[in-house]
């Protein structure tokens, strides 16, 4: 037996902690890859600008990574504290996957992070580059296991349900890991992480370009290089991401049609369905108000044919429908941001061709505004897929209401309050440090996190200082 309120609190807490957490791994995945590329370019070309950029972004990485670790620690225990029924039933399948994540990824990241951070002057260049690559590979492996686990919850395969205990027993690990939605989600998430970082790097670069212009001096070589690299990523990856998202949509239609119905706010299954641009889905009255749509396009996008059938929410019993209002909007925000990213990318290509790439204010302002866009899209995407899986934790097999722990409401409320307060303190401070770091212009002879600072007695990380304008 469970009370509705404990379930609500557990869900709120999960949404809050996982929403906070996911931002940092995504940031780490993209940033670690970027750092590996920078260091590789430095070794290959010998150009100091790449080493300067490497050190500049390494300082940000140390903060991002630490916040990812501590918020991830919470996730690994939250399944047990708040979702003990889910843990006992799905543990035999998800537990080993998460343990593999720790063994193949977390240790790799943590083991080589020290060398990457503080080892530039202690080990050879080749070894240091290897350490950077290991950290980057670790982030990618970690993502793969998490996406495999989450995909299994969305499209479960390779299990047998034990009649006596109701537990999921692994039957075929290959099918469990490589379940039908895994490859699509993995690609979509990896590209999302790269785009998140591309727009952060681009945004920081744009800010310094605008600032240099305002102050009437030339931007440093490092600023120009990072802005250019970021815009190449945007121009190339954003369109690919739109295609990847489209194929994931087809996959979802095939395996989770009820989720599609909720995302589209469609109540009646039909072919030649419209694509709604706006609407207010109303679960109680089984209708969507104030619809604004483009005829036929819904079928065209979802099924790639005009006569394709798009599912409706009324195809499913009332107690098996995801809350359409939330996913309808989260999905649309994500798509809109994706389109904007591609637009910025194309615009940057056009300006490169025109030769005004480093001077066009409109592009720089757009890139600055888009700095957090990747993270907003990422969160909206996760909301779409997770809320769209409701009312199940394991799709179609285990209900969210039957997954929660027998924890009293006061306890749940206490932990929720405590997490909100602590996260607020930690992430405000972290964000402040990051922004202060970004306010400094990357310049020649950039110091990394391990280098001595004249105003400090000791320390591997230096205190922040006033940006020097001696460029």
């Amino acid at each position: 037996m469970h009370s509705l309120t404990a379930l609500h609190l557990a869900r709120m807490q999960f949404a809050f902690t996982v929403g906070f957490h996911i931002v940092f791994p995504a940031f780490s995945i993209g940033l670690a890859a970027y750092l590996a590329v920078l260091e590789g370019l430095w070794l290959k070309t010998g150009r100091a600008v790449y080493l300067d950029l490497f050190k500049y972004w390494l300082r940000a990485f140390s903060i991002v990574f630490a916040m990812g670790v501590v918020s991830g620690l919470v996730m690994s225990y939250e399944f047990g504290t708040n979702w003990s029924q889910f843990s006992q039933k799905a543990g035999p399948i998800l537990g080993p996957m998460l343990a593999y994540e720790v063994m193949t990824a977390f240790f790799l990241e943590a083991g080589f992070l020290g060398v990457m951070m503080f080892g530039l002057n202690r080990v050879g260049r080749g070894l240091h580059f290897a350490a950077t690559c290991m950290v980057s590979i670790g982030t990618l492996i970690s993502m793969s296991w998490i996406l495999a686990s989450n995909s299994w919850m969305q499209t479960p395969r390779g299990y047998v349900i034990d009649a006596a205990t109701g537990r999921f027993l692994p039957d075929n690990w290959w099918q469990i890991v490589f379940n039908p939605s895994f490859p699509y989600r993995l690609v979509h998430m990896a590209l999302a992480a790269f785009l998140c970082v591309a727009f952060v790097v681009g945004g920081v670069g744009a800010w310094h370009l605008l600032k240099a212009r305002r102050q009437g001096h030339q931007p440093t070589d490092a600023v120009r290089t990072m802005f250019s690299m970021a815009m190449w990523m945007a121009a190339i990856v954003a369109p690919i991401q739109i295609l990847a998202g489209d194929t994931q949509g087809l996959n979802t239609l095939k395996y989770q049609p009820a989720k599609i119905a909720a995302m589209e706010g469609d109540w009646v299954s039909e072919s030649r369905a419209p694509e709604l641009l706006f609407g207010i889905p109303d679960m109680k009255n089984e209708t969507t108000h104030y619809k604004i749509g483009i005829p036929w396009v819904g079928s065209l996008i979802l099924t790639h044919s005009l006569n394709g059938k798009v599912p409706g929410l009324k195809d499913y019993p009332k107690d098996q429908r995801a809350p359409s209002f939330i996913v309808f909007f989260s999905f649309r925000i994500m798509v809109a941001i994706g389109m904007l990213m591609a637009l910025v990318g194309f615009f940057s290509l056009f300006l490169r061709w025109r030769g005004t790439f480093y001077t066009n204010k409109l592009l720089h302002r757009a890139a600055l505004i888009m700095t957090p866009a990747g993270f907003v899209a990422l969160l909206c995407g996760w909301i779409t897929t997770e809320v769209g899986r409701q009312p199940f934790t394991v799709y179609g097999l285990l209900r969210t209401a039957d997954s929660v722990s027998p924890i009293s409401v006061p306890n749940m409320a206490t932990s929720m309050t405590a997490f909100v307060i602590v996260y607020f303190i930690v992430f405000t401070a972290g964000l402040a440090i990051l922004l202060r770091g970004f306010a400094e212009e990357p310049h020649q002879g950039q110091r990394g996190p391990d280098e001595h600072h004249p105003h400090r007695a000791a320390g591997l990380t230096q205190a922040s200082h006033q940006p020097d304008m001696a460029e």
Binding site: G72, S76, G95, G111, V123, L169, V422, A458, G459, A463
Partner: protein
């Protein structure tokens, strides 16, 4: 019960205990360093202390995430009953670890005195509360958890009892000793001298606490008592208390003769013996007094799948972790990060 279903949980119990032991030792000394901030206010010394663990603390904490994930995959029933039973201490532990974990990165990057002061205290108190919480979690587990039909049915305040709180205090003292002896090994000058003095005081305290715990624990459950007093097992378990005494003697000598590494190794020895003693106590239960390791197990297919990878990967992990420690070897001083 098939052979695999009998043996796999035993193998996993040993492996999980090993992983938890590695965690306790590694994170123990860096939590201990945080606790030592209470007595060490000198800015230079504080930075030196943190610098001795800055490159490795992330890896230390990863063992804890591994422990949680392995428990989830291999003994899901234990994972799903222990954590709800210890809801509040686990919450305190997680919040403390968050604050002290980011404090590593934050404290040196603060500009204003106030914010630096705040993160120094977050590092210190976070370490202390995490250590006490871990001890309380352990104590509550030894004391026993009320379970019916694989679901926790006790009170959320079961951990607020004399024995768990005593364990919380004892673990905090033990971690502080680990931190102090680690610093004796890794630092120089007056910081090292201070730590050596502190270590000798803490060692006496820890020795007394080990003795008290050894006398107290058997009275919690009759099964515990039987493990220690039944003939012929007594022959097998007797070496544990004898070894504790022997290490105490070596420790005294190590401090007197100013050995650098030996005090740290002695502390490790004590921790290992306490751990062994604990294992002897609760065997074969994983959630005393009702759930054995076999009751708590996931199916052999899960355990075998994870074991295959662990046997292959853990040695590799230990190897590159050791390499990382090797890169950052040597003593740390205020003037130079590493020699």
């Amino acid at each position: 019960m098939s052979n695999a279903a009998y043996w796999l949980p035993i193998v996993w119990a040993v492996l999980a205990a090993t992983a938890i032991f590695i965690y306790v030792v590694l994170d123990g000394f860096d939590l201990g360093i945080g606790i030592l901030f209470l007595g060490e206010t000198d800015e230079t010394h504080r930075n030196t202390m943190v610098n001795t663990v800055a490159p490795v603390w992330d890896g230390n904490e990863t063992w804890m995430i591994y422990g949680g994930a392995a428990l989830y995959g291999v003994f899901p029933v234990a994972y799903g009953t222990i954590l709800p039973a210890l809801y509040l201490p686990v919450l305190f532990m997680l919040l403390s670890l968050i604050l002290r974990g980011v404090a590593f990165e934050f404290r040196s990057r603060m500009i204003s005195k106030h914010s630096k002061f705040f993160w120094d205290w977050a590092f210190c108190l976070g370490s202390l509360v995490a250590a006490v919480s871990q001890g309380a979690i352990l104590g509550t587990l030894i004391q026993g958890i009320k379970v019916e039909h694989n679901t926790f049915v006790g009170s959320p305040w079961d951990w607020l009892a004399p024995f768990p709180l005593f364990c919380g205090f004892a673990v905090a003292v033990g971690y502080t000793l680990l931190g102090a002896t680690w610093l004796v090994w890794r630092t120089e000058t007056d910081l090292q001298t201070t730590m050596r003095k502190l270590a000798s005081v803490l060692a006496v305290a820890m020795f007394a606490l080990i003795g008290l715990a050894s006398l107290w624990t058997p009275y919690l459950h009759v099964t515990y008592m039987n493990h220690w007093t039944a003939w012929p097992q007594i022959v097998l378990v007797l070496p544990v208390p004898v070894a504790v005494l022997a290490i105490a003697a070596i420790f005294g000598w190590a401090i007197y003769a100013r050995y650098r590494l030996l005090p740290f190794l002695c502390t490790l020895g004590w921790f290992f013996l306490c751990f062994t003693g604990l294992g002897i106590n609760i065997w074969p239960y994983i959630v005393p007094p009702t759930i054995t390791i076999w009751d708590a197990s996931s199916p052999p297919s899960s355990q075998a799948f994870l074991l295959a990878g662990s046997v292959f990967l853990l040695p590799i992990i230990i190897a590159y972790t050791a390499y990382s420690y090797y890169v950052f070897r040597g003593t740390v001083t205020a003037e130079h990060h590493y020699h």
